[in-house]
């Protein structure tokens, strides 16, 4: 059965899921996206993703074409129509297709809303057991990384560099510190057992999984510090890991070819992963 996608009010086969070449997502990257994980047919941490969606569209003055409650209904309907057990729902909202191309916001144009799903067994992903290698690249992105926009060319180039190097992620470096991964938030566990991750701000995306992991760790009286850290600190750390909606918590075992600790996922990473999976399942909708 061909996969079903959602495009502006209709559920259509993915091969027929299209947008105008005048869509501002296509012409200007004038759009916002979110990716929510699916476990056993249920959406994970979706309220957090929809809250971030509302924040992002607000920052670029883009009105959602549907309420977030309706968006969640559509997400669920799409999961159902695709019989999706485990994977992700991608959603994108753009400022729509005007009759021509003008940078300034168009008037009376309805925003575009599209969704599609993909299959992935996040819990049993092989990399969860082995860990991933990361490389570092300069952070070339714009100044408003807190907005989850589709202007992702810098991330594409970063993650392509990682793929060429046989790595699973690229960590972006600015002023000697790690900002974040191409599509993940970065963490270290120091030798003093402090979980360190960069504080939110315009330099990074406020990760939903990052936020949940920090809260879950704090609830368990684990020590968390939100501050920038360097690659040198990461290489001297006990453990290194990343978080994202489609990875959950994922160990990093080398950086630029240098082994992290003993080169295997550490106990804190594994524990946080288990805690997150438990939270995810318990709160899935």
């Amino acid at each position: 059965m061909e996969q079903i996608a959602y495009v502006n009010g209709s559920f259509v086969p993915l091969s027929e899921a299209k947008v105008s070449i005048l869509d501002r997502g296509f012409l200007f990257a004038d759009g916002i996206y979110e990716v929510a994980a699916v476990l056993d047919g249920k959406l994970i941490d979706n309220a957090s993703h929809l809250a971030r969606l509302e924040r992002s569209v607000g920052e670029i003055e883009l009105a959602l074409p549907e309420t977030t409650a309706r968006i969640e209904e559509i997400q669920k309907e799409l999961v159902k129509r695709n019989n999706l057990a485990n994977g992700m729902v991608y959603l994108e909202v753009t400022r729509g297709a005007d009759t021509g191309r003008d940078f300034a916001f168009p008037k009376n144009v309805k925003p575009t809303l599209i969704m599609f799903t993909s299959t992935k067994d996040i819990i049993n992903a092989p990399s969860a057991k082995t860990g991933i290698n990361v490389i570092t690249v300069p952070d070339l992105r714009w100044a408003r990384r807190d907005i989850k926009s589709v202007a992702l060319l810098a991330q594409v180039l970063a993650k392509q560099a990682a793929a060429v190097a046989g790595a699973g992620e690229a960590w972006m470096i600015e002023d000697g510190k790690v900002t974040e991964g191409g599509s993940s938030s970065c963490f270290i566990l120091t030798q003093d057992d402090v979980i360190v991750t960069r504080q939110n701000g315009s330099e990074i995306l406020p990760g939903c999984t990052r936020k949940a992991v920090v809260a879950l760790a704090e609830e368990r009286q684990l020590r968390v510090e939100e501050r920038a850290f360097s690659i040198e600190e990461a290489l001297a750390a006990k453990e290194v890991f990343v978080t994202s909606a489609s990875l959950f918590v994922q160990a990093v075992v080398s950086i630029d070819g240098k082994k992290v600790a003993d080169g295997k996922p550490g106990p804190m990473t594994n524990r946080l992963r288990e805690i997150y999976v438990e939270f995810a399942k318990a709160t899935a909708v």
Copy 2:
């Protein structure tokens, strides 16, 4: 008659000109564009636009799906099919639509090539006589502005701010100097009759019209200096203007509400505009 667009080998009515929601232009801003002016049905300075297209796609390792010679044929065919006398041809190349969404480059996916036209009487545009107002905004863009990518959200926000302020362009400021306009190159004429425009580099797009105007000015023994300048210098200048493919040479008469010189287009701006129009007509294809 409905406008005709070009999409991956076909000429289709604009209302049917669509791309997949999986197109990487739509998902990742993983695409490059060019806009060439049309005068009397002929393309202006198109070799320069196609050379820049080749450079941009090269910088992101995107292979053009057609030769530039063939692209020019398609541009001409589209101009003809739309009976376009004066206006622009927009073209965009993206890394195509894969079967799913993965940041790294897809394998064996044909790039997308689309084009459409728009009508504009560039030579007789009212603003050429009156000049335009500009506002200034911080330059929020990424570090590779020399690549003409569709990751244009920062420019959209800048030009929207200009529109709200009743201005025709937003000048972007970084480290106290002007980088460029949201979709134009910036020039001043100093009190010593030196034409100043920022030197090329990763901080700005190498403007095709900018390049032609600099060359035409130098051929006429006018003094040109390529260096960064500040808003204070612009406000103390004899004349201020911008260049772009869809404006040619366009006077700026105020910046952030402060009048430039006597608030009218100056003689050098008008002269350079005439010289450029002459060059454009003489070299049109």
